[in-house]
Amino acid sequence: MADIFDAYALADAWDEMFERPGEVRTAYEPVLAALQPIEPAELRFRADQMARAFTDRGVTYAFAGEERPWPLDLVPRILDALEWDLIQRGVAQRVRALEAYLADAYGPCRAFEDGVVPWRLLLNSPHFHRSAHGVEPPGGVRIHVAGIDLVRDEAGDFRVLEDNVRVPSGVSYVIENRRAMTRVFPSLFAEQHVLPVDGYAQKLLAALRAAAPGGIGDPRVVVLTPGPNNAAYFEHALLARLMGVQLVEGHDLVCRGNRVWMRTTRGEMPVHVVYRRLDDDFLDPLHFRPDSVIGCPGIMSAAMAGNVTLANAVGNGIADDKLLYTYVPDLIRYYLGEEPILPNVESFRPDEPGQLEAVLDQIDRLVIKPVDGAGGQGIVIGPKADRETLERTREAVIADPRGWIAQRPVALSTSPTLSGERMAPRHIDLRPFAVNDGNEVWVLPGGLTRVALQEGNLIVNSSQGGGSKDTWVLAEGPAEQRYEEVGGPLEKAPRQLGPDGAGTVVQEGAQQQ
């Protein structure tokens, strides 16, 4: 029998499933045992079936102008309880530190006075919005939702690659991936004790309601989307539906007297919390880009007057600036008095004295990133770049040292991924999602695992043709404990019975109408 893992050759990186060739890691044993006997054709069939289901359900994304089914690989990515504990604590810690930084930067600015972070980092940031200064958000929360990107390095240690605290997206795919996997491999879930991901919407709604302006008994929450043409529209709609709140576009809202209303069939209704899924720049044409027609004029003034809460807060971009990223370990020590649980990737700051030269000297051995790039755009991978690109990058960095950071390249861990009819190692990362309700930073068990589908590729964004994996967090205890029987056995009610087949034949004449 053909074995789909026959040709699996480990790459020069940490492999999630195999410790060394032929030796599977404990957590993956049941998955390997379930996958190995499946014929390649059967596996392909299931993959196609899944793609078809995604297309029908509209779980698609735009790639090169084409509507494609969301690419989910059949092999799950597994995190055991210990690994997850570390990630969860590390992510929550990071979010708490970034919250403290935002409160500080839009308030007393202690960290700048104390020299932990240089002033210019704040003042030069394109995401620093004066209009957000002095706004004290309800409950002190500015990061209601965060997505922290992690990678696993050659030694198997998780490291933070970047923080997303503006409008992180992708959580809908975590939910959809799980839904699809339970259908394609139902038996696997029966054997494994995988933590569920369907609690996300409830947690999010609770956090959003908790963020409402003070004194409002039953706050009305809405999700603000740029509209059906946005690449993440599917996610906006899913979250609105799961939370049972309205999905609004800019022109559904109207601002009057520093309050926000939505236009409904029963007149205008007040809105208290806006989970906005558009960038600061498009939110309010009166404050930001005047040419934007997808926002809502006046919403920023309403937020400043404290009558509506915007989630996430305006101006969060100063906290996920890639240059600030290099300071986060210091911020954790400064604000929280703790050691960072998850380390950064080793980084350089070209705008600091001495570091520019260090970066330029070894530019062919570093990864060079623009500080405000998104979706993997503008990243130059030194060891793989040609001479001309390197030269161009060198000039760009010299011209604007504040605009770039440099990092040691990390060979991201690999995971077996279906490629044609065989398994092949592909690089992956992980984006766990955190929700902050003001009391607790809750991290959704798992997160979005993205896969670079091309061999050797290190950039995993779906906008660059990446795939995804269902991410399983294994529970510690045995499954039986989680499904304890509640109460006694139900009393059996007698079933009402219709005429049986024999009776129908006898009474045929009488039954005709």
Partner: protein
């Protein structure tokens, strides 16, 4: 806490209901005509096609027209909401922009239908018969409304879907009858009319045999129990409007209510004599009501414009 719906969503839901109903009705009409054409040894393809164009309110071409042309225009033309494919495409887009208001099963039904149409269209061209295509449309329309019935709360969202469907239903029934009444030369015969309304079996059960008389018009307009009759659809539309909670002098409800009452007490002779007028009144009442609904519940919201100082 979701006691209200956005105006934009209400409009999208109404049109979703309308477009799905339109696709369904158009499919039934095409099916009935095609069937008739094939069975009829004295068929006049050109005349039949012209009568189809007239029913669906599309300008007929000057030169001779054949069934393939009709199908291309009335079934497969994705650019026109007057064709099946265009109507389903528009229904899909409307449902998509109201995705948190329709249930995911409803959305999936429309979306997968949209994706499945292409295959059936190709097959229809290859085999020269659109039956599988038309059947798919009918089944999916039924599935869609069935899902609306079983997965949506009976709240305002649901009422807008049903309102849209009911108004479209009256419109389509009236269109069918109008051709028979106003242009008898090219008109379909009564049995074709019945099957184009999906009413042949229901009619047979009530009146026995197959219709060949103005009794068919009476059935399609006045039957209380048949869901595609004008009276039934008007009653449903009126119930929706009443539940949407408008004052008594509701300009959306009034034209419909007035006609519904009129139909309730109409006898057969009066119906036969006044049929042309009645059909015109019905069409106008539906249009007036739809306009009033739009004005009241979803006033036009174009892109917001504002003056920019110094710009």
């Amino acid at each position: 806490m979701n006691d209200v719906i956005l105006s934009r969503i209400a409009e999208a839901l109404t049109w979703t209901g309308r477009y799905v109903e339109r696709a369904d009705a158009t499919g039934r009409i095409l099916d009935a005509y095609l069937h008739r054409l094939l069975e009829d040894p004295w068929r006049d393809e050109d005349a039949a096609c012209r009568s189809l164009y007239a029913i669906l309110g599309v300008d007929a071409p000057d030169q001779h027209c054949d069934m393939q042309q009709v199908l291309d225009q009335l079934a497969f033309d994705a650019r026109s909401t007057g064709s099946i494919e265009g109507a389903l495409g528009a229904a899909r887009l409307n449902a998509r922009s109201a995705r948190e208001a329709v249930s995911s099963e409803m959305w999936e039904c429309l979306n997968s239908t949209w994706h499945a149409l292409a295959d059936q269209r190709t097959a229809a061209r290859r085999t020269g018969g659109p039956y599988a295509y038309l059947e798919l449309v009918r089944r999916r329309a039924a599935l869609f409304f069935g899902l609306a019935d079983s997965t949506m709360s009976r709240d305002d969202s649901w009422r807008f879907v049903v309102l849209g469907r009911s108004l479209e239903r009256v419109d389509m029934t009236v269109r069918l009858l109008s051709v028979r009444v106003l242009d008898a030369a090219h008109a379909p015969d009564w049995p074709t009319l019945l099957s184009a309304s999906g009413a042949d079996e229901a009619y047979a059960r009530v009146h026995g045999g197959f219709g060949d008389s103005p009794k068919v018009a009476e059935f399609l307009l006045l039957d209380r129990d048949f869901p595609r009759s004008a009276l039934h659809a008007l009653t449903t539309a009126e119930e929706c409007l009443a539940a949407l909670g408008r004052p008594r002098q509701d300009p959306a409800r009034r034209p419909i209510g007035a006609l519904r009452t009129h139909l309730e007490y109409l006898d057969s002779e009066a119906l036969e004599a006044g049929l042309p007028t009645l059909l015109r009144d019905l069409q106008q009442a539906c249009m007036a009501s739809a306009e009033a609904v739009a004005e009241k519940f979803f006033p036009y919201q174009g892109p917001v414009e504002w003056a920019q100082e110094g710009a």
